[in-house]
């Protein structure tokens, strides 16, 4: 059997050494590698360079060795990024499409305003995870975190899915406070217990239904495929499902300055 390019290294895999490179230079090289047709990029010696993957819109797979800087995959539109270490703040900021897999912890505002794509974090995440995430038509961002998060988890959340606590040791509770404050869309699943006074005023607890169980099973399966673990044991839960109580949490806050406008400011719509 004759193989094309048998004795040449495949152009599909590219190794890039990030040592000493400014992020601007690093990203320029990433862009040209992707334009040249790279399908898999091994990025080694990464030392805090920001915005990795930001201006890429192809399904290229980028393996990051070392610690990427803030805004990893910000505004990202398609690539798959695997971080073989920890990620910092702003990971997946306003992300549109693609996947980020982090073999470690991630910092604050993970998935801020994301509209699509998936983020898997093996360990813990920082403050304001999933803040103002939203969904639109078929795009729905999903964030899966093995450990737990800090305060303001899912604040102002308008759509998408947050799933946390897959590896939370038995008996430990989620310590985040103000969970889902201002939430008006999407869903949060917490494996393990959470004190009710840690929930935001706009959040309610709902029953796990068949559709939830399917989603949980799929996401846990994916998590275990990436990081290992016992999917069955994880799926035994227990899971708490948090949903917004109101589609329009601040609807009744306002008083019109025109009398004829009174009909415009409607009463709170209970879900």
């Amino acid at each position: 059997m004759i193989r094309v390019n048998e004795h040449k290294p495949s152009t599909a895999t590219v190794r890039l050494d990030a040592a000493g490179l400014h992020y601007k230079e690093l990203n320029a090289r990433l862009r040209s590698a992707v334009t040249a047709g790279a399908q898999r990029i091994e990025l080694v010696n990464v030392h805090g360079q920001r915005y990795i993957g930001t201006d890429l819109d192809s399904p290229v797979e980028i393996h990051i060795h070392g610690t990427p800087g803030n805004d990893l995959g910000a505004f990202m539109d398609g690539p798959r990024i695997i971080v073989h270490s920890h990620a910092q703040d702003g990971c997946g900021n306003t992300m549109n499409k693609g996947e980020i897999v982090i073999h470690g912890h991630a910092g604050d505002i993970l998935g801020l305003s994301a509209r699509g794509g998936r983020i898997f974090v093996r360990d813990n995440v920082g403050y304001r995870t999933g803040i103002h995430m939203k969904q639109y038509q078929e795009t729905r961002p999903i964030v899966v975190v093995g450990g737990t998060a800090q305060d303001f988890l899912g604040e102002y959340m308008a759509g998408g899915v947050l799933l946390l606590g897959l590896t939370l040791p038995e008996g430990e509770t989620h310590k985040a406070r103000f969970i889902g404050t201002g939430m008006h869309g999407g869903v949060i699943y917490l494996r393990g217990s959470v004190e009710s006074h840690h929930l935001g005023k706009e959040v309610g607890v709902a029953d796990i239904e068949a559709a939830d169980a399917d989603l949980l099973s799929e996401m846990v399966g994916q998590y275990v495929a990436y990081f290992g673990g016992d999917a069955e044991a994880i799926l035994r839960g227990p899971f708490t499902k948090l949903v917004p109580l109101y589609l329009r949490p601040y609807g009744p806050l306002y008083a019109p300055t025109h009398r004829g406008a009174q009909g415009v400011v409607r009463r709170m719509e209970r879900r």
């Binding site: 609807g251 806050l253 306002y254 008083a255 019109p256 300055t257 004829g260 406008a261």
Partner: protein
Amino acid sequence: MIITSHNEQTKSYLKPRFRADIVDGLCIRCGCCVEQCSFDSLYFDAQHQRIGTLDENCVACHRCAVFCPTQAITIRQASSEYKHNEHWRPEMIEDIIRQSETGGVLITGMGADKAWTCYWDKLCLNASQVTNPSIDPLREPMELQTFLGRKPDRVEIDPRTMELKTTLAPQVRIETPLMFSAMSYGAISLNVHEALARAASMSGTLYNTGEGGLHPKLYKYGPHTIVQVASGRFGVHPAYLDVGRIVEIKIGQGAKPGVGGHLPGEKVSATVATTRMIPQGTDALSPAPQHDIYSIEDLSQLIHALKEATNYTKPISVKIAAVHNSAAIASGIARAGADMIAIDGIRGSTGAAPKSIRDNVGIPIEMALASVDSRLRAEGIRNQVSLVVAGGFRTSADVAKAIALGADAVYIGTAALISIGCTVCQACYTGRCAWGITTTDDKLTKRQNPEIAAQRMSNLLHSWSHELKEMLGAMGINSIESLRGNRLHLRGVGLTRAEADILGVRLAGE
């Protein structure tokens, strides 16, 4: 949060503020006014064969009066007189009644209507007399062209080829220093958004999407578009960032500094949902801060994220409201890597804002502009950013004075809306704009024809531009560049010495 729904059955203590005065002898009972009124203030009284009025609903938008074929309608003040009181003015009394009947935060539209000192009215422009000749713009070239973007500290020219050796940061050319302010689709109708885009294209300038994303059919106006990235990140995706000519990070707006935005679910129609990329009928909530920006360093991070996302092809602007420390903040923004700073003053307008914020928070744009320009000059970094100012510009003279105070260009919003029918009735937040401007209702939206509206807006830009040329000519200068930051062309009247010092101008006669 107090949540008390208004009970329709309760007797309101509010009285009508306006009255549609219909002259019976002129009225032909055609019902046009009833059809035009979107606030349910007029109805046809079949029993008496006349037009009936529900004055408490009238917002004084003048739609009925303008469209009455026999000009039978005059809108009049209908407020009953209170015992005169300089302190407890009727507005204060009525606002308290409104709040006691609803328990809500008073919400309103447009810019502050309070009598804040307008320094444009206290500044005189200069003209040439004898010692240098004035110029007639009808006969001689007069340059209004303006370039937005970071300017280099120095330029180097290859002496052999006479080519520029310095690499310039992205520059955006506009033919006149007038641009349209950020007004989002959702706050204004799609037809008005399209009209702004077309007018900007016709006049060689830019309009600003605001924070509501961009409808696909307006992508073709991309070279004349500033796309905004605000705290809600609505409709922000790679194609949106790529299509604009400038990307603007919105930190604040003059009408509501430090306050987020709540576009009510009623205004989130199917098409608004498409451009904002959120489900139909949900509130579009913009948080007060951008949660990835808690410091100048964080701002710098987002500026550079956007530069990366657009591969360094576009200037990045940062819009802030004029507040007490604007000068220091602007210095930080310039140093954070922004290419343009937009500042919106206390009279800046909005589709909806809490009244207490709109009328009281922020400072006049004149003071903010003067102090920012002075500060950036003193620090030697004025060239690093273009300065764009906004907040209630009413005439070409206001614009000329702003440019003399140091602005590169001016954003106009309210003036553009007035050009297509707005009467500043401040009912934008209701979504029932009878002029089809601040509404997403399909029927009302049709009241604006994008082509006609674009022509009216473009006419306004044309007349202001020509007036600017006349003023420049009178001063004996033939380029807007020669007026920029040239405060010697301004003289103050009725200013205190401290005010004149802040504005950096001499008093008339000095």
